[in-house]
């Protein structure tokens, strides 16, 4: 189903080139590489080349004007004492580890309610899905900025109940929360993946459970959740990788500065400021590699942990 499962199956099957395959090789090689040419050029010139280049730049001081100057581990030791960077890591971790579980929980909940052959399912599905299509846009970030402003929609509604709401995005203690809420709002995409997953669970399991007198809750814990765990895992991995890279919403809502008082200074926003605001390209590259390593570590942890909770029915 997913790129993730493909990857793990490749690593399981590796090193078994059969004679048949080798024979075929001679036949298709030329054609294959012609078909692959655009992709290969892109891989080398747009992906791997720049990756290695940014690894090199992370050991240099480079401002686009003078040639890069080798500074060894300077950028990395600077990161150790950069309080704003530590803060931006904290902001990003909060966003990822609060936003992702919350979003997936809502997605799963709605998918469960939607699942059981409910009338009007396509309509509901569209309504819930629409925000996740629009959520990445500048326009919705603008809307969010208004809604959670001091005189925004949320506070207007609260005022109807006589409550004086805070300036959600101008208050450092609630600004990040508003952006997390925007992330939760886009739960439609994982919801659709959950719906597709729920469909794959054979109905006979539930029938058997019913015969044995299992309650709805028991059915959920003993059948739905284990059967759905590969999908949950898949959503988790994807959402974590994606959320670490969030940028647009924080940028627009905070007016590009990660404020108030750095409370929405996402790691990517800080990286952007360093690289494209101050043209401190060496430091920005070092940050980018740190991000890659962090995402790699969390993905690895996810995979290791998955052995204990993801259930494969085969």
């Amino acid at each position: 189903m997913s790129a993730i499962s493909e990857l793990s199956s490749i690593s399981r099957r590796k090193g078994k080139a059969t004679a048949e395959e080798k024979k075929a090789n001679s036949r298709d090689n030329k054609a294959a590489y012609i078909f692959l040419l655009p992709w290969l050029v892109g891989l080398i010139a747009i992906t791997i080349g720049p990756m290695l280049m940014s690894l090199y730049l992370s050991f240099t001081d480079y401002n686009l004007l003078q040639p890069p100057e080798w500074v060894g581990l300077d950028n990395f030791t600077r990161m150790l004492t950069d309080a704003r960077l530590h803060n931006s890591l904290g902001v990003t971790f909060t966003y990822v580890f609060v936003g992702v579980p919350l979003q997936l929980a809502v997605a799963l909940l709605i998918a469960l309610v939607l699942d059981k052959g409910l009338r009007g399912l396509p309509f509901y599905r569209s309504v819930f899905y629409l925000p996740s299509l629009l959520g990445g846009s500048v326009a919705v970030a603008i809307l969010w900025k208004q809604i959670f402003g001091t005189t925004g929609l949320v506070n207007q509604v609260l005022a109807m109940f006589g409550i004086q709401g805070p300036g959600w995005i101008s208050d450092p203690s609630t600004a990040l929360g508003s952006i997390i809420l925007l992330h939760v709002w886009t739960f439609g995409a994982p919801m659709i993946i959950f719906l597709a997953g729920l469909r794959q669970i054979p109905i006979m399991y539930y029938e058997a459970a019913k015969v044995d007198g299992a309650t709805t809750l028991q059915q959920f814990w003993r059948i739905t959740l284990p059967m759905l765990s590969p999908i949950i895992f898949f959503n988790l991995v994807l959402q974590i990788i994606g959320s670490f890279q969030s940028f647009t919403q924080a940028f627009i809502v905070s007016g590009g500065n990660g404020g108030p008082s750095d409370s929405t200074m996402f790691f990517t926003l800080y990286l952007y400021q360093k690289g494209f605001g101050q043209f401190d390209m060496g430091y920005a590259s070092a940050m980018a590699w740190l991000l890659l390593v962090i995402i790699g570590i969390f993905t690895a942890i996810n995979f290791i942990a998955s052995k204990y909770w993801v259930f494969y029915d085969d």
Binding site: I10, I46, F128, V138, V140, G149, L153, I192, I203, F251
Partner: protein, 315 residues
């Protein structure tokens, strides 16, 4: 993730979990409905579900509706009127918003359209070619390259953006659309390669074999047999590329600094920055104009969108 959960929109087997809720469970559900459906408990349970869903759905959509309504209101009401009723239709927000920046807003929409069309063509051509090779041809280092391709899907673009920027600025491509289009021509959105590989794997190999026996080479098999059969995957790619490129902010922010070249997202951002809090109405109006194409694509391409997500798990 397991073979059991294979959810591909393949030509021969209709995939589950996509489009209409047709699936192997449905007949069973019907059956149980026949015997139990009209029991009171079940009906009230369904009613409760609808109530929950309608409430949740309304909550989800309300901000969007409110933005639409607010864009048709005099400015000062935006800060006082949380409701959805309109006393009069105020089009002035649209006319003033349209001409609020250096260029009329249509200029930015045309810029966006150019980037979008270039990106769609790029993705369709380059990704389908790569996908054909991965799905149908045997070649040296295939597994390695396929693995690398899958890994690049998950690669955060930040690790390449700085050198990419340096590269493109040295070629003199800053403030042109090339940095936004050329990577797509080179299949760097590997995600779509994967989507198409999955799809092609579902096309029966006999068709290729038959064409081969008739003397067709790979270019011909690709163009005449595979491409026409993979139209659904191409449609999914087109739609997702449209939405992602139309919404793309980061790339445009970095590469397009000349207002003449602004795409819609950076134009909107410039609008936010240039305006004080007094002109939310026209800001909303242009936000809605910017969302309209995505909304239309959503209306007409929903089937492919949902199929694409269920298959591959993209946003």
């Amino acid at each position: 993730m397991t073979t059991k959960l294979e959810m591909l929109p393949t030509p021969e087997k209709k995939s589950a979990g996509t489009g209409k809720p047709t699936n192997r469970r449905k007949p069973k559900v019907r059956e149980s409905r026949g015997t139990l459906a009209f029991s009171r408990a079940q009906r009230s349970k369904a009613l409760m579900k609808h109530a929950v869903l309608i409430l949740a759905g309304a909550l989800m959509i309300y901000p969007l509706l409110w933005m639409v309504v607010s864009s048709l209101r005099p400015n000062e009401l935006i800060f006082r009127e949380p409701g959805l009723w309109l006393n009069s239709l105020e089009m002035s927000n649209y006319t003033s918003g349209w001409s609020a920046l250096t260029h009329p807003f249509g200029h930015y929409m045309i810029n966006s359209a150019i980037v979008v069309i270039g990106s769609i063509l790029g993705n369709l051509i380059s990704c389908s070619m790569a996908a054909y090779a991965f799905a149908r041809l045997q070649f040296t280092a295939k597994k390695l390259l396929f693995g690398i391709m899958l890994l690049t899907i998950m690669l955060p673009f930040h690790v390449v953006i700085v050198p990419q920027y340096i590269l493109f600025s040295q070629i003199g491509w800053v403030n042109t659309f090339w940095p936004l289009i050329v990577p797509k021509l080179l299949a760097t959105e590997a995600f779509f390669v994967f989507l198409m590989v999955q799809f092609i794997r579902g096309i029966p190999k006999d068709l290729d074999e038959a064409a081969r026996i008739d003397g067709a080479g790979h270019p011909r098999i690709f163009l005449r047999v595979i491409l026409p059969l993979m139209v659904p995957a191409l449609a999914t790619t087109t739609i997702f590329t449209f939405i992602w490129t139309w919404n793309d902010f980061f790339g445009a922010l970095i590469y397009l600094t000349d207002p003449d070249m602004f795409t819609v997202p950076v134009a909107l951002r410039a609008f936010v920055d240039s305006q004080s809090a007094t002109s939310w109405g026209s800001l909303f109006a242009m936000s809605i104009v910017s969302l309209l194409p995505v909304f239309l694509v959503f209306l007409f391409g929903q089937r492919f969108l949902i199929k694409g997500i269920a298959t591959t798990g993209i946003k």
